[in-house]
Symmetry: C2
Subunit: 190 residues, 2 copies
C-alpha cells in the first residue's frame, strides 16, 4: 500500500494514545502526535477527520457496527426483538477478545479522563444503536419497540463493557454481557 514507512495510520494512533496518557489530551497538539509518528500535522488530518477520531479508529471504527448488525441478522427470523438484540450483543462481545483488553483498558482510561472524548464515544455507540434499530425494523419490529430494544441492548452492552475494562475484572465480555442482560430483564419485569 504505502510506499513510505508503512502503517502511517497505526503509527499515528499509537503515538496519540501514548501522548494522551503521558500529558493528557489537551496538552497534546496534533503536531506533537504527527511528529512522534514521523509525519506532519497535515497528514494527520488526512487520516483522521479530527483530533479525537484518532482514538476511535476513524472510518474503520464502523467495523464494530458491522459486527453488531451482522450478529443481529444471524438471529432466527422469529426471535423476539430483545433475543435478536442479544445475538447482536454476543457478536459484539466476541469482537473484544482477551488480547484486546489491555489496549481497551488504556483507551478507556484516556477517554474517561476527557469529556470531549466521551462525547465522541457516545456518538459511536448511538450510531450502533441506530443501526440495530434499523435492523430490527427490517425484521418487522415496529417503532417505538425497535428503537427501545436497540437502545436498551446498547445500554446493556455499555454497562458490560465498563465492567470488562474495570481493574481486576477477569470475566470475559460475553459472560458480563449476558449477566447484564439478565439483570435488565429482572429490572424491567413488572
Amino acid at each position: 500500500m504505502s510506499r513510505w514507512e508503512p502503517n502511517a495510520r497505526g503509527r499515528l494512533e499509537q503515538a496519540a494514545l501514548d501522548l494522551f496518557e503521558e500529558r493528557g489530551f489537551d496538552q497534546t497538539t496534533v503536531e506533537d502526535i504527527a511528529t512522534r509518528a514521523g509525519l506532519t500535522k497535515r497528514t494527520f488530518f488526512r487520516h483522521f477527520a479530527d483530533k479525537r477520531e484518532v482514538l476511535f479508529g476513524g472510518d474503520p471504527g464502523s467495523a464494530l457496527r458491522e459486527v453488531f448488525v451482522t450478529g443481529l441478522a444471524a438471529a432466527p427470523p422469529d426471535a423476539a426483538p430483545l433475543d435478536a438484540v442479544a445475538a447482536a450483543l454476543d457478536a459484539g462481545a466476541d469482537f473484544f477478545t482477551e488480547e484486546r483488553r489491555p489496549f481497551a483498558r488504556r483507551r478507556q482510561r484516556v477517554v474517561g479522563a476527557h469529556p470531549e472524548l466521551q462525547e465522541r464515544e457516545l456518538v459511536k455507540l448511538a450510531s450502533i444503536s441506530s443501526a440495530l434499530a434499523e435492523g430490527l425494523r427490517e425484521r418487522g419490529v415496529d417503532e417505538p419497540a425497535a428503537s427501545l430494544a436497540a437502545e436498551t441492548g446498547l445500554a446493556v452492552f455499555r454497562v458490560a463493557f465498563e465492567r470488562w475494562v474495570a481493574p481486576g475484572e477477569e470475566r470475559d465480555l460475553t459472560a458480563l454481557t449476558r449477566d447484564s442482560l439478565a439483570t435488565l430483564r429482572a429490572v424491567a419485569a413488572v
Copy 2:
C-alpha cells in the same frame, strides 16, 4: 442585574438559533452570533463555554437534570427501580409543557441536522442518566441494576421526546413517555 441592555445571554441564544436555522451551524461564526446580539465574540465566550453550548442552556441546562433527580427522590422508598425511574420520567415530562413544544421543535431540527450538536445532546442525556443511577444507588439499588435502570429509563424518555417533537404529533410528553415505558416493558418481558 445588568447595567447594559438586559438579558445578554437570552439574546445570544435567540441570535444563535435564528442564525443556525438560516445558514446552518458551520456557516455561522461566533462573531456572527455576537454581532446580531449586539455583543462581541469575547462576551459570547463569557456566557457559554463553547459555540455548541449556546443551544443547551449553558449551566442552566443542568436544570433538567435536577428535575429528574427530584422526581426520582419523590418516588416511594420501596418502589421498584424502574417504578422510581418512571416517577423521574414523569417529572421530566412535566418540565416540557405545551408552550415549549414549538421552541423544542426548532431546536430539534437544528440539532438533528448537525452531528457535532448531537454529540453535545448525548452528553447532556448521559449526565442525567448518571445522576439517576446515583440516585438509585442511594435508594439501595445495586450495580449494575442501578445503571441499567437509569440508562433504560433515559432511552424511554429519549424515544418519547423524539415522538413529541415529531411533526404532527399532538399527544403530550407524559402520555408518550408512559406509552414508551409500557412498550419497553413488553419488549423486555421474557
